[in-house]
Symmetry: C2
Subunit: 154 residues, 2 copies
């Protein structure tokens, strides 16, 4: 097996790009007065798709540990964007609902998000985009196949 030069592999590109998109996200949200981190935004988005989801399910679909998600919920709950409702049918679970204020800020975030994605994909053809997404998904499958399921729910 040939020796691999770290810099020539896809690994550093992925890491750097994730960082840069995070910075960009944070910049534009801040500039537009959207008081959300990208993690918080993702939670609101998943609730906007389907309101009242159970904490553990949210953890699963956002690829987080249940610990991390629980604390994210606490943060957005404090901000008044979601409410945690303890189920009476199954007393173990919490269902999470978007509040009116949560719906409002999510709605306001959408055009900003569109700008972010436009800026991101600027000058890149649809073919390039779809083949890139395709490769990224393949890599993802390689990893999931091998990653042992832990508390992370993967």
């Amino acid at each position: 097996m040939r020796k691999i030069i770290f810099e020539n592999t896809i690994l550093p590109s992925i890491g750097k790009l994730a960082k840069f998109t995070g910075f960009y996200f944070s910049d534009l949200f801040h500039e537009n007065g959207i008081d959300l981190t990208k993690e918080q935004w993702l939670v609101l988005k998943k609730l906007h798709d389907k309101n009242g989801q159970v904490q553990n399910d949210l953890a699963f679909i956002t690829n987080r540990s249940k610990t991390s998600l629980a604390r994210l919920i606490t943060t957005v709950e404090k901000k008044g964007y979601v409410s945690r409702i303890h189920s009476k049918i199954d007393k173990r679970i919490n269902q999470i609902y978007l509040t009116e204020s949560g719906k409002e800020i999510f709605k306001r975030s959408l055009p900003v998000m569109q700008n972010i994605i436009n800026d991101l994909q600027d000058g890149i053809t649809n073919d390039e985009l779809s083949s890139t997404i395709n490769v990224l998904n393949k890599i993802q499958k390689n990893l999931i196949k091998k990653h042992k399921t832990k508390q992370t729910n993967l």
Copy 2:
């Protein structure tokens, strides 16, 4: 401008993949008795490339804020992998050096890293890889162009 469906863009792929590579990295390092996070590994790698670098330069090349890097150094210093040396020429700067123990663990990490990259890129052709890296770099440039330089040193 056409309405963008978040799920169809490259954004979620990037985020998820970064997470999954992180999990995989952590799994394999743990299984192989390498007591390093991916962030710590990157710092050791940069020092292995060029020993004695200044904190701020390390922050720049690893795309971190100087705060974050300073604390990373403190962590790996406590583990005994690097030493912080206060310069006598310019009393503002710290130069960071790999210790023998740091060199040793980095050397032990290399084959593990090779495995990670092999697993990651498994079943993906060289053409796919290089075009993907190319697109990711384009996106990165789009973002850097627009991101205002802050303490992050970008």
